[in-house]
Symmetry: C2
Subunit: 249 residues, 2 copies
DNA sequence: TGCATTCACATTGTTAACAATCTGAATATC
DNA sequence: GATATTCAGATTGTTAACAATGTGAATGCA
């Protein structure tokens, strides 16, 4: 069973609900070999072990994973679909490197889809949502002031986002939002590197949660839109100053 | 050059602007062999020559296109990414068949993304938008009352949608909306089979265009949301009565 | 008859060799 | 000295054979 398919009502606490891997569970025996390989390469890309723009040689990976180039090619196609790898015809694969324009575009779409999630959650409230948001924002607030927690903070907001999407009850929407968030995650970390930005983000999460508790959907939508917009802008700004995200510990 | 990359300002009239293929241009020499093959298979699926749920044998296609199974597998992966083909591990590929739930989910996402397009268009109006919408809705109105024009009507709304997305100036958003619309196109045709439904749809397009011309964004958003919702509901209803869309001329 | 089992066949998954293409350094030309 | 050309090496694209897996009909049993 893929981590994304874990039914929401199986979890009651934040600690349990976030216990799924960023990418695919590579030990899942139902996954095909290319899927498992794609998961492992994906984790490397998301973890910064492979820098954006870096070339990916088929033979090199084939040797490493002890398979022929066929399954590697399938794995690269899977990663291309996820947006983590870019395949250039007859010139091989590279780790996807987003331009500021592309990052801005993705952030905009992500914001639009999350707005849809929020409106759905407001329409059909899920009993687990509020406790989950409370526990999540608490965790975010703790991470906000910790030094060097940009990566973990960004991953926590990612997990929180996915959990919200799951509770909204539209699987395709959840999958699309997951995919978009994974594509932007490396860059989001850049925008959340400073304590000030994290504190600002955590406060907006907090206020949005309060708005939901108070039943003020429009306010929650507004706060969420603002948070994603600000995070996106900051990520774009950081990307413009530094050339690429990767290579962070 | 793929059809989606045609710059908008190259066209001034509706007739020119819609002159792109539904799927990929298979004669484009810059496309790889698998991409060309994917385009041809995709056209068959969209055209109803291959029914939802139909099995797709690799060898059969390999013989037909005079290549080995390798490029066919790549083509099927491409079509899987587009959502037109579903690949079941070790059990082969089938033409994607949407359940009513999945169709509803896709329609909902499509509506949310198009709303984003509308808001962007309202923020930064494009000089070509209004003439394009006027010409498009005119064409829709003509097609609404024609008999057996469900397919052509649906394709026209698809093209109109893509043109709007293009003018909104977010390429990724345009690509996602294109992909989603292609996935739902076969089913949209079902929902637009009756003259009454087409007339209703055309009127909502018309009113939304008028709202845009009057600068009433909220009204346009509301009308658009309603149109997509109604079309989606009708497609779902038709899908529930008839089992599958394909096999239409 | 209804259901589980077996087994041959068809199909997908993988491999390794070969063909086509790209890259970049060395060379040639202006 | 700067730009164009050539060519060898590396890399991707394709093929056909082989291995692993799934399917469904025929068989056996209750």
């Amino acid at each position: 069973m893929k981590p994304n398919d874990i039914p929401a009502d199986q979890f009651t606490a934040w600690e349990g609900a976030v216990a799924f891997r960023l990418f695919a569970d590579q030990t899942d025996p139902t996954l095909t070999v290319p899927e498992q390989i794609a998961g492992r390469i994906g984790d490397r890309i998301l973890g910064g072990q492979m820098a954006p723009g870096e070339r990916i040689g088929e033979q090199e990976l084939a040797d490493e994973f002890a398979v022929s180039r066929g399954p590697i090619r399938e794995a690269l196609r899977i990663l291309e679909r996820e947006g983590l790898v870019t395949i250039l015809a007859r010139r091989g694969a590279v780790v996807t490197e987003l331009s500021t324009t592309e990052l801005r575009e993705l952030m905009e779409i992500r914001g639009g889809l999350f707005e849809l999630v929020v409106r759905k959650l407001a329409d059909q409230p899920h009993p687990e949502l509020l406790p989950l948001l409370r526990a999540g924002t608490e965790r975010l607030q703790a991470l906000a002031t910790e030094t060097d927690a940009g990566g973990e903070y960004a991953e926590t907001t990612y997990r929180l986002l996915i959990l919200c999407a799951r509770l909204a009850g539209n699987q395709r929407l959840q999958r699309m939002l997951t995919g978009l968030s994974l594509q932007t995650l490396r860059y989001s970390k850049l925008g959340l590197a400073s304590v000030a930005r994290r504190e600002r983000s955590a406060r907006l999460w907090q206020e949005a949660t309060d708005a939901l508790a108070a039943g003020d959907v429009d306010r929650m939508v507004r706060l969420t839109r603002q948070r994603i917009e600000e995070s996106g802008d900051e990520a774009v700004r950081q990307l413009q100053s530094r050339p690429a995200p990767g290579s962070a510990p």
